[in-house]
């Protein structure tokens, strides 16, 4: 049997998993704090807007969003497989397209800031 080309999708999944593990809990916490009206001084709307307006800020935000989307899509694909949903090509196509569309949308929104 020939070697698999799975690393193409697995590497961004692994990178996204690491990003999710580090960033998402912090983002959830900060969102909760913001919702309750406790925004830390360094993370005010103006400061974050200025961060997203800069080139490096755009790149960081795009990296976090795109990798997280890709990782979640791949994880969901694996979960479907685990539960016996064996239409893997269809599931993979739908989920990866969703991740790619989400990433493109994120890029477009970031470029408009």
């Amino acid at each position: 049997m020939a070697k698999s080309h799975k690393p193409v999708v697995w590497f961004p999944f692994a990178a996204g998993g690491t990003v999710i593990a580090f960033c998402i809990p912090v983002i959830v916490l900060l969102t909760f704090l913001a919702a309750l009206g406790h925004v830390p001084a360094g993370l005010s709307y103006e400061k974050l807007h200025a961060f997203a307006a800069g080139g490096i800020g755009k790149l960081v935000l795009f990296g976090v969003i795109a990798l997280s989307a890709w990782s979640s899509a791949h994880r969901l694909r694996c979960t479907c497989y685990d539960f016996g949903l064996r239409a893997d090509t269809l599931v993979a196509t739908v989920l990866y397209v969703a991740a790619i569309v989400g990433s493109i949308a994120a890029a477009l929104f970031l470029l408009r800031i």
């Binding site: 799975k6 590497f11 497989y81």
Partner: protein, 250 residues
Amino acid sequence: MTPLKERLVQLEVLRYNPDTDTEAHFQRYEVMCQEEWVVLDALNKIKADIDPTLNYRWSCHMAVCGSCGMMINGEPKLSCHAFLRSYEGVIRVEPLAHFPIERDLVTAPDDFMEKLKRVKPYVIPKEEKPISEGEYKQTPAQLMKFRQYSMCINCMLCYAACPQYGLTPSFIGPAALTLAHRYNLDSRDGGRKERMEVVATKEGVWECTFVGACSEVCPAHVDPASALQQLKIVGSIDWIVEHLIPGGKS
């Protein structure tokens, strides 16, 4: 000395005789057991006193040989390591999941044995040398790199726990892949390339979706799930070298 506590234990055991049965069925046994006994002791008591026709494998009774794996209340366990005091009510005992039943609790391990051979689970020396030149030496640090993965007792509990193996029987599976990794990590070994031809395939490590059940049930604390994730990293780096670096494909 206080007398040992006894308890009446009910076991529901899957029975199948290929000569007379068209399908497997459960048989209920009631057996007086001592409080500190394991499920294997209860089965031995049944075989000795109640029903000598009951079939099951066992050997060491000390979680070393890996022969007595069974599903106990739906969980893959070594029956010599499953204490009766951990269970209440009727204890359901079935043969290891995902393997064909040969008779009663005895399963046919042929599929696992064939896969084990395919990953070449032995040292393939980097360079052959005559015996007169002595041993292939290794430092304690080099040993520690793979020691954990060498503790596998081939009990196949990880195969019974793995949903991927249940759904895709061609999957090489946790124990065989872990042993491939164990030899890949061995400083005396030069067989990584040959093994990766089998390991880095769809049927190999890429069928694994990291459910992690293998590591939960492993009685030898091998943690096959970690070995498989490490193999995925190795396989991915190989893929990059082979496809993206000019001259990388040898």
